[in-house]
Symmetry: C2
Subunit: 417 residues, 2 copies
């Protein structure tokens, strides 16, 4: 039998230390031009976007009503001759002279001579071509948005690093930016390992279980803005695992689940080494997820190295490791400046006793209250128990020790929603 090596007594790498190692190996993917219609929410701009025009492009009426001259309405009341009707999209032809007004629609350019717009609700038509106005004395520029008030030609309207939300799509359309420089979505290969696994469509028998990590990682990766590629289940045999690993190394990121803990069949680190992956760490002082492996490999086709994470096989460990290590990597590759993870402080809502030998990311329920965030741990029977997480929407960091935590204490919490 192969020797099982007992754990060494050297202190384990901390989560913060491990995150710092990962960060050293991650650079944003080079921006590529894509069409505005192919861009999606959460894409990140790879360059500043400039306006090619003034907005509004002309002095614009902000209301439906009448374009007037303030001088004609010093009391707020008057009867003016209607000389023109200007709708949005039309260019005014007449200049307002003394005693004249033009009907004007929201968004239309104001005519020459006009220095205020009176809203239609303060007017009544008097025959075909006269209007009576009964309002407060108009203020200069009232209901007029000056040319360039929103943006001027040449202005940087969106900065590099901006995450595209719906309003950014509106701004890109406004300035005619139909080809957008975007950090591409990282391609992420997903490989589940383990002789005990069968695909979800199969009926497990005996000691088999269905592969839940594959489907969960596909969802996690797409939710984090990556392009997942599921490679299937790798069996616990180096010769069968290696070609799948080599395929996965063509992606920006390779995620494996299973096969990294101390058991003799946990052969992933060895296969990775054979496939040219340089190991940067293996084991981190955390629970669950302690056996996590991180390495890098020169990527076929050049560019950034492939980042390789060997995640433990238990689904809850996978989720925790993804949130602490993989999501921030995907954010950084996608060009996000502030890649996280973003913990928030929350108040424990009831006493909680817990014994653990490592800092533990415990499933928890996080809720907003009028006095800030409240958190309570969700019952949890072990790292495979995905169902316990149905109620959970967060992970709370519980320190090592056999401790009684009093209600009111502050915990660092990572939201999962």
């Amino acid at each position: 039998m192969t020797e099982i090596v007992p754990a060494k007594s050297t202190p384990l790498l901390t989560v913060a230390g491990a995150q710092a190692i990962v960060r050293q190996h991650v650079r944003p993917l080079c921006p590529e031009p894509i069409t505005l219609t192919s861009a999606v929410l959460s894409h990140v701009l790879g360059a500043d976007v400039l306006s090619d025009l003034d907005m509004p492009p002309y002095h614009k009426s902000m209301m439906d009503g009448y374009a007037v001259r303030c001088a004609d309405l010093s009391t707020g009341k008057g009867r003016l001759q209607i000389v023109e009707e200007i709708t949005a999209g039309q260019t005014p032809k007449k200049t307002l002279e003394k005693g004249q007004a033009s009907r004007i629609m929201t968004g239309a350019p104001i005519p020459a001579g006009c220095d205020a717009v009176v809203v239609v609700e303060r007017t009544t038509l008097d025959g075909e071509s006269w209007v009576r106005i009964a309002d407060r004395p108009p203020k200069l520029g009232q209901n007029i948005l000056p040319q360039g008030a929103e943006m001027r030609s040449g202005d940087v309207v969106l900065k590099a690093g901006t995450i595209l939300r719906p309003k950014e799509f509106g701004i890109l359309a406004t300035v005619g930016k139909t080809t957008v420089p975007i950090h591409p979505s990282p391609r992420v290969a997903i490989l589940s390992t383990g002789d005990e696994l069968v695909e979800p469509k199969e009926r497990p028998d005996g000691a088999q279980i269905r592969n839940s990590n594959g489907a969960m990682l596909v969802a996690l990766v797409s939710g984090a803005g990556g392009q997942p590629r599921y490679l299937g289940i790798g069996r616990d045999e180096a010769a069968r695992l290696k070609p799948l690993v080599c395929d996965g190394l063509k992606s920006h990121v390779l995620l494996l689940s299973g096969g990294v803990s101390a058991g003799k069949l946990d052969l992933v680190p060895g296969v990775l080494r054979e496939a040219g992956v340089a190991a940067h760490f293996h084991k981190v002082e955390m629970k669950p997820g302690k056996p996590i492996f991180f390495g890098t490999a020169i990527r076929l086709g050049g560019g950034t190295p492939t980042l390789v994470f060997g995640l433990p096989g238990n689904p809850v460990s996978v989720l925790v490791c993804f949130e602490l290590f993989v999501r921030p990597v995907l954010q950084r590759l996608r060009g996000c400046v502030d890649a996280g993870p973003h913990f928030i402080s929350a108040i424990l809502s009831a006493d909680f006793s817990y014994r653990t030998d490592r800092p533990t990311y415990h499933p928890a329920r996080l809720e907003a209250s009028s006095t800030g965030w409240k958190v309570r741990p969700v019952p949890w029977i072990g790292s495979a128990d995905l169902r316990a997480l149905t109620e959970a929407n967060a992970l709370m960091l519980v320190p090592a020790g056999d401790l009684r935590h009093r209600a009111g204490r502050t915990f660092e919490v990572l939201s999962l929603d």
Copy 2:
């Protein structure tokens, strides 16, 4: 010239009243079976999902180590004969007798006779087939997860109405639910109207502007879980608008922007009437977005009626109306039980004077602090000013009046992120 009808003095419909009217016309779309691999994050389950197996399917080791009998290790120390090696995916063949142990890997089934697992770190091999153990006295069931502890066959593991997040994908895979009952994503047609509009790829001249609402609504709809279909720009002419409207009425929802305010070219409500749309309201007491129109039409092909929103033409009005009315509708159609909008209470961080004649949804910056949410208004020069919203991540509800709001006051705020 056509008469411009001044606003009536009857009180306007409130936002809450308008939302209640909309709610009466919305039912979740009927669930349809889709494959697990086609399901996406944010899809909502249309029926309970039951487990078809126990998880774990057997008494399972939670650690790498040795399956033992507690009776053999009453002091925590001992030397046991190794009779078998059990990896995940294997079925144990040997029953543990007095003085015997089996090597066991995380996730593997425990052998008959075993009542505890000792972790590998507390053991040393003694030749090929003996192991020395030096640990605390084992507890009954230590490191063993009993069969069915996570779920039992027949258990409801996910309830109807559950929003699919990554862990739900893991649970669906675990129970072999490869065809999932899902409320379909609503199909949403988007039609921008206005003679002043040109497509983003064109160069506007004179009184033209680019259509920003189309791209923004496409992004809003897809971010809200709908399937957007952009119908292009409808010109301000009933004969040209009507076929586009009729095309849009084939969808679950038709969103128009522009053409609903009091100006004479605002002909959308008339065209909608001709196309068979029953109007339920037109104008709501809010700023921006007052001219919003809502109606319904019998949908070709049957099923739920088509919901029709005529949104104002200004981009900020579009955004506000979308968040207050359209997003909750899409949520409800998608089967969400709690469809929103979800306002949160936030503390004003600095004094703010504002005059408005209607309840106003003002662009604002919302930030979490250790004592709860803080909000501050973002400078805003009018409802067309999308760029002002770059800094904003929320809308704060400011009451009507000419008021000075003191720092520390609580406002209701709607997050846009």
